[in-house]
Amino acid sequence: MLLHDTALIYGRYLRQSLRSRFALLFGVLTPLLYLLFYGPLLTGLPLGGAGSSWQVLVPGLLLQLGLFGALFAGFTVIVEKGQGVVERMRVTPVSRLALLLGRVLRDATVFVLQAVLLVLAALVMGLRAPLAGILIGFAFVALLTLSLASLSYALGMKVNTPQEFGPLINMVSMPSMLLSGLMLPMTLAPAWLDVLSHFVPFRYLVDAVRDAYVGRYTGTPMLYGALVAVGFAALTVTVGTRVFRTAGA
């Protein structure tokens, strides 16, 4: 039943995404601009890690795509609440977990698709990385979007207007981006900033994907990254499902 319901909800929302192909491409624009106009600035800089500057930047941009994109997924649920769609579905016997999973799996699909586009563009710009590493990177994007979209839907169910939602999301996304070393590795940071960044879960994901991009699949960063990504996903999906089950909004 859960599988049936999840597939059903997933299909409904994937068709919705495919109807607006423009938005689909638009989502990849911001990281693409970074790639084009920011990436070349790093090529000559000593970034400390192994590999080229592209192997440092692209993992950051992939997770940035997830961070900024998926965190805003909840906007759609605010609109759907207004249309009565959420309540109409909650009155049917459809599984509550499926109501969330169908939506977040759609988001993961969309963002992995965008991530593929971004990596293709990066290959043209000069990125060279092992295929396995690139695939691991996509897996992290999928897990991250799953988590952040769940969180975003939970928040979207709780707040009543987009006006409250936007600032809240910005409050989370901006510090997360700066403190996780998405743009430049935190190994360049002074000690206090480096320590602070360890309290931001995304830091571990970025480090893991950067390791993957230089072919290191069994180091501690990969272990920590995988643990944090899976743990965070489990936590956020649980929270999200709870909200869909009990939402009084």
Binding site: R12, G82, Q83, G84, V85, E87, V91, T92
Partner: protein, 262 residues
């Protein structure tokens, strides 16, 4: 006839920053099978909150209820399988076609794909939406849109249909059509209809029995004529006067004589 909805002491208190707000304070209800029940009350009386509790959308903070033989607290899934609910604002995505919304709804009620498609066609015929199946929901008129909302709620042939202010915003012709539809549902399928409304003419014309709520409690109940006789003074009294007599709303004498400004 058998009782299809029964509620005892149904209560909902919301926690707000200003302290607890009792939206519904102990509602007792008994709705018979095949009955059209009009649930009336002034704005903020607790109509929608009661409806949302009976449809499993909102957990009661007190009391108990049984809907179509299923206990609300113990078996919400059982309740969901036997009821249909149309919210005040409807519940369809304006970007999606009528056919797709109806078919997806059927699948949510676990109909196999082919059957869900067939059921969508059947519902469209029954509710006069056949020519509109490939139109987007957002392109429908108010009356057509309401019929689609109701079609969605009838997908699984529910025993009980809950309608929250079903004719708000409709023109007189569409309202009359909708009343016919509700009567037809009851006469043809024996569906019990629980509807809230602000329109007293609607309650008068459509409902077999009225329950009038005020400040989260049942203030009166009975057939329209019995209520008119008891509270309005005569069986021919306008329901408007009866309603005001029960809820005590309207310009009070003391307010009328008070000076507007001094």
């Amino acid at each position: 006839m058998a009782t299809v909805i029964s509620a005892a002491g149904l209560t909902r208190t919301f926690q707000t920053k200003a302290g607890p707000v009792a939206a519904v304070r102990g509602i007792d209800l008994a709705v018979r099978e095949g009955e059209i029940l009009g649930f009336l009350g002034p704005n903020g009386a607790g109509k929608t909150t009661t409806l949302r509790m009976l449809t499993t959308l909102l957990k009661p903070t007190g009391g108990a209820a049984t809907v179509a033989g299923h206990d609300l607290a113990a078996d919400p899934a059982g309740v969901r399988a036997t009821i249909g609910y149309v919210a005040q604002c409807g519940g369809v995505d304006p970007q999606i076609t009528v056919r797709e919304e109806l078919a997806t709804q059927g699948r949510m009620y676990r109909l196999p794909k082919a059957e869900a498609g067939a059921r969508a066609g059947e519902l469209a015929r029954e509710l006069g939406l056949t020519g509109l199946l490939d139109r987007k929901a957002g392109a429908l008129s108010g009356g057509q849109r309401r019929r689609l909302d109701i079609a969605m709620a009838l997908t699984h042939r529910p025993k009980v249909l809950f309608l929250d202010e079903p004719t708000t915003g409709l023109d007189p012709g569409s309202r009359a059509d909708l009343w016919d539809l509700v009567r037809r549902l009851r006469d043809k399928h024996g569906t019990t209809v629980f509807l809230t409304t602000h329109y007293l003419d609607e309650a008068d014309a459509l409902a077999d029995r009225l329950v009038i709520v005020d400040r989260g409690e049942v203030a009166a109940e009975g057939t329209p004529s019995a209520l008119k006789l008891k509270h309005g003074g005569s069986i021919d009294a306008p329901l408007q006067d009866t309603f005001l007599a029960i809820t005590g709303r309207g310009p009070s004498p003391s307010a009328d004589t008070a000076p507007v400004a001094v």
